[in-house]
Amino acid sequence: MRKNGGDMEIALDVPQPRLRAVPAEPAPDPAPPGEVSDADLLARVGDRDREAFEILYGRYVRPVFSLALRRLGDRGHAEDAVQEAFAAIWRSASTYRPERGAAGGWLYTVARNAIVDRLRRNGPSADAELPELSSGEPGPAQQAEDSFVSWRVHRALEELQPREREVIELAYWSGMSQSEVAEYLGVPLGTVKTRTRSGLARLASVLEGELQ
């Protein structure tokens, strides 16, 4: 990859989740066999490949939006931050160096920096929208870890087959029991259980770094 003279190197500063073993070598991107890895997509985006950018956008728009919503607490500001984050990715992709870390971590850092910039630009009124930390709430380190876990999990969900993802999302976040999910989808309960297990197993493979 080339480096544009005017672009800045972006330092990796990714919080380490509790369950994640820090790899000695750059972590592989969670790309299933046959799919282009995030690192390859970033290289192509660095060459101004619009198609690669759209694929990368599809993989990361939810994690970036989720991160922005957590930090900014407002959908309008979060939408703006997502646009700014992807503009920064488009501009800076050529500065990504695979030997310095996984593409997902680099993207997380770029997105987080864009969100923090938006937070600062919004000024005190926007800061006031953030909930005050009380003694019962997680501290900044814990919040950072939670944000990174959400980032990885939401990114990993994009790798599931649509049927697996549907069942996982309904089972975890709709409030329905598995029997209700089965009735809702019009499939046997056994099918719901099978898809849940295979979805969790696929997520485990994608998130392997965090589970070691």
Binding site: R50, F53, F86, V149, V153, A171, Y184, R197
Partner: protein
């Protein structure tokens, strides 16, 4: 959500030790992460950078003017159509429709889509026709509900319906409210504990 998923219930007893612990780790991460947010229509498509920025301001301005002219022309045609309909009782669909929305399924019903045609008001009622497909059948005694959305929030119910698994269904509903500019509609299904409004399954797509 009120109810946290139970790992043993989700997985059953068949999965053995090591694999079971591996899946339990994922389960805990899913619980910790919470649900991914629903994307707003503005975020559905990747933004355009680079090529668009290379276009001269003059080209952009000229395209904007052409677009504006086209919009004015289309609006004029519609206005003329409404006038003719009011004067002569035309029964054409375009003239009777006050607004038509295309709705797309959310992650809770990704295969679903619908068209909502809102007709001109009569005696304070805004009758509407919802043509929907791809919604799954709901459990007994639960219903889909069409909600008027105002200022970004569900504001009032426009009726409930069920589906039977047929490929396409057309229903007549009503909004007995004073509609405002910016009003929109969503379709929901009951959430946990049956609270209202429930979870959105169909929402408008951007033009």
């Amino acid at each position: 959500m009120n109810r946290e998923p139970n790992f043993d219930e989700l997985i059953g007893a068949e999965t053995p030790g090591a694999e079971r612990e591996r899946l339990r780790g994922v389960h805990e991460l899913l619980v910790q992460a919470g649900p991914p947010p629903e994307l707003t229509p503005q975020l559905e498509k990747a933004p355009g950078f680079g090529v668009a920025r290379l276009q001269s301001r003059r080209v952009v301005k000229r395209r904007a003017l052409v677009l504006l002219a086209a919009t004015v022309a289309i609006a004029g045609v519609f206005a003329a159509g409404f006038a003719v309909a009011d004067d002569h009782g035309s029964s054409t669909s375009a003239a009777r429709t006050a607004r038509t929305l295309q709705l797309a399924g959310t992650s809770l019903a990704p295969q679903a889509h619908a068209t909502l045609e809102v007709w001109h008001s009569h005696a304070g009622n805004w009758p509407m026709t919802l043509t929907v497909s791809g919604l799954p059948k709901l459990p007994t005694h639960t219903y889909y509900e069409v909600y008027l959305v105002r200022d970004g929030k569900p504001w009032g119910s426009c009726g409930t319906f069920r589906v039977d698994g047929s490929s396409r269904l057309s229903l007549t509903l009503n909004a007995p409210y004073s509609l405002r500019k910016g009003d929109s509609w969503v379709v929901t299904r009951p959430g946990a504990g049956g609270q209202e409004p429930g979870n959105t399954v169909l929402r408008p797509v951007s033009a």
